[in-house]
Symmetry: C2
Subunit: 292 residues, 2 copies
Amino acid sequence: MGLTICDVGPRDGLQNEPETLAPHVRAEFVNRLADAGLPRIEAASFVRADAVPQMAGAEEVVAAIERRAGTEYSGLALNEKGYDRLVAAGLDRVNFTLAATDSFSRRNANQSVEEAVATAGVVIERAELPVTLTISVAFGCPFEGEVDPAVVADLCERLGAADELVLADTIGVATPRRVRRLVERVSILGKPVGAHLHNTRNTGYACAWAALDGGATLLDASVGGLGGCPFSPHATGNVATDDLVWQLERDGVGTGVDLDALVETSRWLAGLLGRRLEGYLYRAASWPAAAR
Amino acid sequence: MGLTICDVGPRDGLQNEPETLAPHVRAEFVNRLADAGLPRIEAASFVRADAVPQMAGAEEVVAAIERRAGTEYSGLALNEKGYDRLVAAGLDRVNFTLAATDSFSRRNANQSVEEAVATAGVVIERAELPVTLTISVAFGCPFEGEVDPAVVADLCERLGAADELVLADTIGVATPRRVRRLVERVSILGKPVGAHLHNTRNTGYACAWAALDGGATLLDASVGGLGGCPFSPHATGNVATDDLVWQLERDGVGTGVDLDALVETSRWLAGLLGRRLEGYLYRAASWPAAAR
């Protein structure tokens, strides 16, 4: 099975930046990523605007996207209401996210893990769209500390009717061997498995390779390494899509993404936000020169 | 065979920073690393002071070090004169470095690769000290572009009488699979193999893991990710020792290093230089809290 890269910059990236970009700018961001050949883009988050103002106007974002053949447009939902809005907006896939710990679940989604599991079950049952199920804080929780891999594996098993299972290192504490082991453990459920990694402690790219070694077929990333983590003030964002694509392609893993267009998108974003992004490739330049 | 981490901050780190620190400050840096339990420290570089002013006074640095039992103090040499100075200064090991390409060799050491090989042979033959042989630009050259792994493997084979062979990604263009393959290829010579990695394009930590997978027993790193690369203005430094130790220990690879003392050394350095270092761990904090 090939590898799918999903750029979550318009969602996980922007929701952790201090600025709130207008819906038409976020749609332009999505369009630039689609033009770069991203096979999947997480375009919007259907959460409460008062809780995450950066994600307000999700419907407007989706309406302003110029759909590109070959690109799958997904969105995030934490509950049935979000899911209904997402379907009505016309996205292609739902990323239903629940946390591995009660503390994180209550703060992030105002519900217990068991309540979230029940909702996820309903959404998967209704299933108008492909459902990605993402388990956040799967490698560690800012409130509860260590997370038992057995708890994560059990959640995946109970919700194994989803079309895809994603293990998210929300706060950037995963390490390669732990990632590989958990990916392998969840892979026995027979569904495609993905990893969502933050580079907070410089483990993100090593974990991405470890996830691939473990059999992962989806990697979330965010162009330029956009984003951060609201629970860790010095946290950096997701692994940078450009940095990830560069190293994967150089090592023979095809991504289908146009690296030059991706680097150009990082530069556009850095200009838009008026600051340096965390990604290194757009600053250090691709290599060798022929690939610049 | 266990893993040895060598902190090259006092050498590769400082030689690529704009400031020139006084020898007694560099000795204090070395002493702090020794107190953190680093098994090996590259303490000084015996090169021409007019070529690398940051490394001037290598003898003074070595004289001011408070030797700690269990720590091996090494230094860099590019020619016989440097080697003689290093032996006279009383270090424990020489890191003799030569480049894989003529263009880099001429600019960095004013000699062809063949001249450097001949000198390396003489140094290995004289062998008062253990000799680490480092091949720089082993994964790519800023002047010649791609470097054929066969050229690097051939250099290692010709100089296989050295006590240790290190593959250096001087400009940060290595990728994990290439690193693992080259480490495996050189390992058949039967000598301990190491990797010296820069994180310029966010591949350094993934490459470190790949090197371990390939059988490497030595990893160079620089506390706080100190350093850069004179041939790449936006380049970041070596992989950060603190970030590397944190992830290795969390994944069950023992390093013998005191992480708290290492993080404290990064903070001391950041204060000394008056700027943020590239390493993430000293900013993001260790995790879980108990390990802080």
